[in-house]
Symmetry: C2
Subunit: 399 residues, 2 copies
C-alpha cells in the first residue's frame, strides 16, 4: 500500500546521513568531544557577520507581512535583482532578474531543474566521484544515470570517457566544481574542452544538451585559484546555486536556479522550472532568507579559516602516509583507502570514533571523504586517532 | 526537449497566483491603495510577538551552527519534542517525537505524504470545494483525483456522495477543515460518520484507506467552534500541518507531517515519508524556523482581528444582497456568484480593482473565494467598490 521506492529511500539513508546519525548517537554515549565527525558538509565557520546583522535589522525595520509573507513563486523581485546585479558585476554577464528562480537550496535547485527537463528514457551524464543524492534526484524523474569516470590522477574530466558516456538520449550533463567530494576545481581548459565537445554533440544530434552546473562551492577556493563561470564558455548552461556553503546557511535552505536567455528554449525551460517547483510543493523559497540574500549575496565566510583547516588535515594525513587529492576548493579531503574496501576502512575508523564517508556511493570505490568544515580544534584532537588508524594499516601505507 | 507537464504547470499558474501577480502589476499602475486584493491567503494579522522575539533571542544566545546548520532530515529533536508535547497537552494524545517529520510547509507536507503513499493507478478522494493545488500534487505522483461534492447547502461532507467516490483503488481521502475556500468546519458528527464509513470500507476492501487531514487552519476558528482532532476518531489518520496561518509565517515555509504509531504500516509510512522528502530535494525543514517553532508551537495570531474582519465583510456583502457561506474558521469568505459564470463575475469585479478568485478550479463553479486576511482598512475601503459591483447585478441579486 506504500510506494516502495520511497520506503527504500527512507530506510536506506545516504551513507553520509547514516554516519551523521551514528555520530549523534555515539556523542550521547562517549561525549561530543570524543567523536571526530567528518561526515557532513555542515560548515563550522560562522556565517559572515552581516547575515545575522541583516536579520536583526530586518526585524527592527520591516513589518511581519514583508518579513514572513509569501513572495512570488519565482522569488522576491528585489532579492533576484540583487543577486543578478552581483553576478553581473563579478562575472561581466548581463543576466536579468527574470532569469532567476529562488529555491530552498541546492538539492531543491537540482531536483527542480531535473523535473523540469526530464521524461522517462532520458539520460543524465554525471562525473564520478559525484554527490550520491544526484542518483536519487535523477532516477525519481524516470531518467537514468550514466556515470563518467574522471581522470583517476587529476580528477579532472576525462574527455575520452565523456565521449563514451554521451548518447543521443543525453539531455544534460551535470558538473560540480569545486567538486564534492574530491575538492578539485575544473580548470578553464577542462571547461573549454567539455564545452567544445558538447557543442559538437548538439550539432550531431540536432538537439540541445544542457550543462547543469551545480556550484554551491563556487566561492570556496584557496590560493587564488579561479573557478571558470560556465555560462561564459557554453551557451546551454543552467546554473544551480545554494548559499549553504558560501554563507554557511545549510539548514536555512536558500539558493537559486539561473536560466540564461541564451539557452535553447529558454522561456520554456524557465516555465518548466516554475511548474516543477509548483508540482514538487515548493511554493516559494523561505522569505526571511530571501530578504537576507538581498543584502548578503556575494559575501563569503572566512576563507582563511577553511584554508587553515585544509592545510592542517592535508599535511597531517599525508605525513601519516595516507594518499590524498590536494583540494583547491570546497571543504572536503578525498583520501585513498589503504585497502580496496573503503567501507571496511571506514568501519575500522569508526572504532577510533573517526567518521569518514566511504566513497563507493560517490561512484569512486577505494576512497573516503573527509569533510573538514569542522572545528579546527577537533581536527587537532582527531590526529592521534588518525595516527592509530594509520598504525592498523602500516604495511599498506608503506607501499 | 522539456517535460511538457511541468511547462504547462509553469505557464498556467494557479488562478490564485495569477490574480496575485495581476494585482502586483495593477498596484504599480493605480497605486497600492486602490487595488483591493482578496486573492491570496497571505495573513495580514502579524505573527504572535513571541515569534520575532524568539528569533532575536536565538541570535543573541546561540551560535551560527545551531542557528543555521543542517538538522536531522526528520527535523531537530528538540523541536519535534516540543510540538508533540503541545499536541498531547491540547488533545490528550500520546504522540512521540518519532511520529513527527518537519517540513517546508503545508504544500511540502501534502506532496511528501502523497509521494510516500502513491503509485500510478491509485485514487485519491477530495471534497469539493478543495485547494486547487491538490490536483497538481496528486496527478504528478501518477495517481488520479476523484472529486466528491460536499452538501451544497451546509458544505459539510455528503456521505452518499462519498459512498459513490470511494472505490477499491482509493488509497486515501483528503479532508481540509477549517476549509479553504468555504470557511466551513467539519462537525464532530461529520468526522464520526466519515470515520465509520471508511472503517467499513477498509474491512470490505481488506486494505487501509488513509485519511490525510490537511489542517493549516486548525487554530483559526471563531465563536468557540471546536475542530475535532481527527486522529481520535479514525485510526488511519495522517496529519499534514503548517504554521503558515496560525503563526502568520507563510513565506517562511515551516510545518510537519504526523504519522501516528496506530496507523496501518506506520513504520513503513514514516520511512516512505523520509524517502519522499529526500527524493523531492527537501533535505531538512528550515533550521532557524524549527528553533522558533520549538518555542512558539501552539501559539496563534490575534483571532479577534480575524473575527472583526470576517464580521465586517460578511455583514457588508450579505447586506448588499450577496449570498455567502458563513465562515466558522479559516479566513475565506465563499460567496455565490450572482451569475452562473464565476469567471465572468471575477472579471467584472476586476474592473473595480476587486480581486476575487473564481472557484471553478476549486471544483465548485458559481462561487468566488474572498481571502479576508487583509488590512481591515482595505476591507472598509473596498466596500464602495463591492457596492458598485452589486449594482451591476441588481437584477440577479433581487432573486
Amino acid at each position: 500500500m506504500i510506494n516502495n521506492t520511497m520506503k527504500n529511500y527512507g530506510n536506506n539513508r545516504s551513507v553520509i546521513r547514516d554516519l551523521f546519525e551514528f555520530g549523534n548517537q555515539r556523542k550521547a554515549v562517549v561525549g561530543a568531544e570524543n567523536v571526530f565527525d567528518f561526515s557532513l558538509g555542515n560548515p563550522n565557520v560562522p556565517a559572515p557577520a552581516k547575515v545575522n546583522a541583516t536579520i536583526r535589522e530586518l526585524l527592527d525595520t520591516k513589518n511581519d507581512i514583508y518579513l514572513h509573507g509569501y513572495t512570488s513563486a519565482q522569488g522576491d523581485a528585489a532579492c533576484r535583482e540583487a543577486v543578478v546585479k552581483d553576478l553581473n558585476k563579478r562575472f561581466g554577464t548581463s543576466f536579468r532578474k527574470e532569469n532567476l528562480y529562488m529555491t530552498c537550496g541546492a538539492a531543491a535547485s537540482l531536483k527542480i531543474v531535473l523535473t523540469a527537463l526530464y521524461t522517462p528514457g532520458d539520460e543524465v551524464v554525471v562525473f564520478t566521484p559525484y554527490f550520491p543524492e544526484y542518483r536519487v534526484f535523477i532516477e525519481t524523474t524516470g531518467a537514468s544515470v550514466r556515470e563518467c569516470p574522471c581522470d583517476p590522477d587529476t580528477f579532472q574530466i576525462d574527455l575520452i570517457a565523456l565521449e563514451n558516456a554521451v548518447t543521443e538520449q543525453t539531455k544534460s550533463v551535470i558538473i560540480n566544481s569545486p567538486n564534492n567530494p574530491s575538492g578539485v576545481v575544473y580548470t578553464e581548459d577542462t571547461v573549454r574542452q567539455v564545452a567544445s565537445f558538447l557543442k559538437q554533440k548538439e550539432e550531431d544530434y540536432g538537439h540541445p544538451i544542457y550543462l547543469i552546473t551545480d556550484e554551491p562551492y563556487r566561492e570556496l577556493v584557496y590560493d587564488g585559484i579561479c573557478v571558470p563561470f560556465v555560462t561564459k564558455y557554453y551557451t546551454d548552461t543552467i546554473v544551480c546555486y545554494s548559499y549553504s556553503k558560501s554563507l554557511a546557511l545549510p539548514g536555512d535552505r536558500i539558493g537559486y536556479i539561473l536560466v540564461p536567455d541564451e539557452i535553447a528554449d529558454s522561456a520554456d525551460v524557465y516555465a518548466a522550472v516554475c511548474g516543477a517547483g509548483r508540482a514538487l510543493g515548493y511554493v516559494c523559497a523561505p522569505s526571511l532568507m530571501q530578504h537576507v540574500i538581498e543584502q548578503c549575496t556575494g559575501l563569503v565566510s572566512d576563507l582563511n579559516e577553511y584554508r587553515e583547516k585544509r592545510d592542517l588535515i592535508y599535511n597531517a594525513l599525508t605525513d601519516l602516509g595516507f594518499t590524498c587529492i590536494h583540494p583547491d576548493g570546497a571543504f572536503y579531503l578525498f583520501m585513498k583507502s589503504p585497502i580496496a574496501d573503503a567501507g571496511a576502512f571506514s568501519a575500522k575508523a569508526k572504532e577510533f570514533d573517526l567518521l569518514l564517508v566511504p566513497a563507493d556511493s560517490f561512484g569512486t570505490p577505494g576512497f573516503v571523504r573527509i569533510a573538514y568544515c569542522v572545528a579546527t580544534d577537533m581536527i587537532r584532537r582527531s590526529l592521534p586517532a588518525f595516527a592509530k588508524l594509520a598504525e592498523c594499516y602500516a604495511e599498506e601505507l608503506k607501499k
